[in-house]
């Protein structure tokens, strides 16, 4: 057979492409459930680590199971509110925070995860999503039940520069947020990420990353823009607890 002719070449290429496409689709479909599971576990792990839980998961023999047990144990409630602070129907875990943050504040549906600690105190965890230098950044912010004091944060990123912007997912950066405060005399000021200032005494600021200015600013904006949607919810909760 002439293996150099046009007809042969075209048929050869077509058959090859169809075979390869079929093979790849099959592989993608069979592996999809496992991959989705991994993404879910990662999300649960992030939620837990914002309240400093599950940090030792990496050394566990069965990490998935470990995370899921912890999640079941501590995350006692997950619900959705609108920007007026009223509860609405919805699955908090499945909400796409990226899409919600693209909407105007009054149309957002906002997920909240409630974590009940051993001493029965409650922490409220809210997801945040923003822009870094090269791609999206996201994270979780855990607040005490005064809706002011930060318990902890966790951040992650898609493609920030290693050693610079990517430092936002290190413990050194995230630990700075512990015990910072969102409100100054009842006014929302968020937690700023600042340069050239002494931040250890300032309850509303943390140190930015040297060489990671744009990512740092991204974190700053992300916190402000995402938390602002929850202000009404915080307000209703605070009045409830005063009564």
């Amino acid at each position: 057979m002439n293996t150099q002719g046009n007809t042969y070449t075209i048929i050869y290429a077509s058959v090859m492409v169809i075979l390869v496409a079929a093979g790849l689709s099959y592989a993608a479909l069979t592996l999809k459930p496992f991959q989705d599971k991994n993404v879910q576990i990662e999300k649960k792990q992030n939620i837990l680590s914002s309240v400093h839980l599950g940090l030792e998961a990496a050394s566990q023999p069965n990490k998935q199971k470990y995370i899921e047990t912890l999640y079941e144990q501590y995350i006692t409630e997950a619900f959705v509110v609108d920007s007026k602070g009223n509860r609405v129907d919805g699955n908090a875990f499945a909400i796409d925070v990226k899409k919600e943050n693209a909407k105007p504040i009054d149309q957002r549906t906002l997920p909240i995860f409630v974590c009940t600690m051993e001493d029965a105190s409650k922490n409220y965890i809210i997801p945040v999503y923003g822009r870094g230098l090269w791609g999206p950044i996201w994270g979780y912010v855990a607040l005490k039940s005064d809706f002011n004091t930060v318990v902890g944060v966790v951040f992650d990123h898609k493609s920030e520069t290693p050693g610079l912007g990517a430092e936002i997912n290190t413990l050194q950066f995230q630990e700075q947020f512990n015990d910072k405060q969102l409100f100054e005399n009842e006014n929302f000021v968020s937690v700023k990420v600042v340069k050239n200032q002494i931040t250890s005494k300032n309850p509303h600021a943390v140190d930015a990353i040297s060489g990671g200015t744009i990512t740092s600013n991204g974190v700053d904006e992300m916190l402000h823009d995402c938390i602002i949607g929850y202000l009404e919810f915080f307000k209703t909760q605070k009045t409830l607890s005063h009564e």
């Binding site: 293996t3 150099q4 042969y8 070449t9 050869y12 290429a13 090859m16 492409v17 390869v20 093979g23 790849l24 592989a27 993608a28 592996l31 496992f34 991959q35 991994n38 576990i41 990662e42 990496a58 493609s159 050693g163």
Partner: protein, 218 residues
């Protein structure tokens, strides 16, 4: 060949062992350098990367060798690329499903195996003109030669850059300046330039041990 050649004849063994030393793809042919920079900060991703390349190159070599007589000459490069790309995507998907954390560390570099010149180089130079079994050995050998360098580089970068090996602390904690000691990790080792310098040192050592590799001055 009418009389059957043993599976591991001297010639076949050479296919496996040569790329580890005197025809090493990284240190002698200087191919695949870019990924050697990127994935060698820690041992574990370097190891997984080496394994992925071994799988991809071995199977790509076998597949190309099996279809070598039917491939139309004019589209052979495209055929090679399709085979490589398909294998790489499968490897990437498997990593995402079963080794999620490592696949996050390797991120785009698994996908970039497609552009690793070692792979296309071996398909074009070897698999297209040899039988499947020698091609398989050649694939394993070359990918292992690549992986060997990756692992050596990663070993030194992780040891001096982070004080750990495979994530385990080997430099005693009490040595660190923070704990009142005298030692500090070398941050340079984590940055890409040190990968090149480490590779260069390996080339230096290899050349001073094996004089055949040194080009004559003209």
């Amino acid at each position: 060949m009418s009389n059957k050649e043993p599976l591991f004849s001297a010639k076949n063994r050479k296919l496996l062992t040569d790329p580890l030393g005197k025809s090493n793809p990284i240190t002698v042919q200087v191919l695949g350098i870019c990924s050697a920079l990127a994935v060698t900060v820690k041992l574990e991703p370097a190891f997984v990367m080496a394994l992925s390349v071994i799988v991809v190159l071995a199977f790509a070599n076998v597949i190309i060798s099996l279809i070598r007589n039917s491939v139309p000459n004019r589209i052979r490069i495209i055929v090679q690329l399709v085979v490589i790309a398909a294998l790489v995507i499968v490897v990437d998907q498997i990593l995402k499903a079963f080794m999620y954390d490592v696949s996050k560390q390797l991120s785009v570099f698994v996908g970039l195996i497609i552009t690793n010149c070692i792979i296309m180089g071996r398909l074009e130079a070897f698999a297209l003109s040899n039988k499947p079994w020698p091609s398989f050995l050649d694939g394993i050998g070359n990918a292992a030669g690549y992986g060997l360098i990756l692992i050596i580089v990663a070993f030194f970068r992780e040891l001096f850059g982070s004080g750990t090996i495979w994530g385990f602390q080997v430099v005693p904690e009490s040595w660190y300046i923070d704990n009142g000691g005298f030692y500090s990790n070398n941050g340079m080792m984590i940055l890409p330039p040190m990968a090149l310098i480490t590779v260069a040192v390996i080339i230096w050592v290899q050349r001073s041990r094996n004089r055949d590799l040194i080009e004559e001055n003209k």
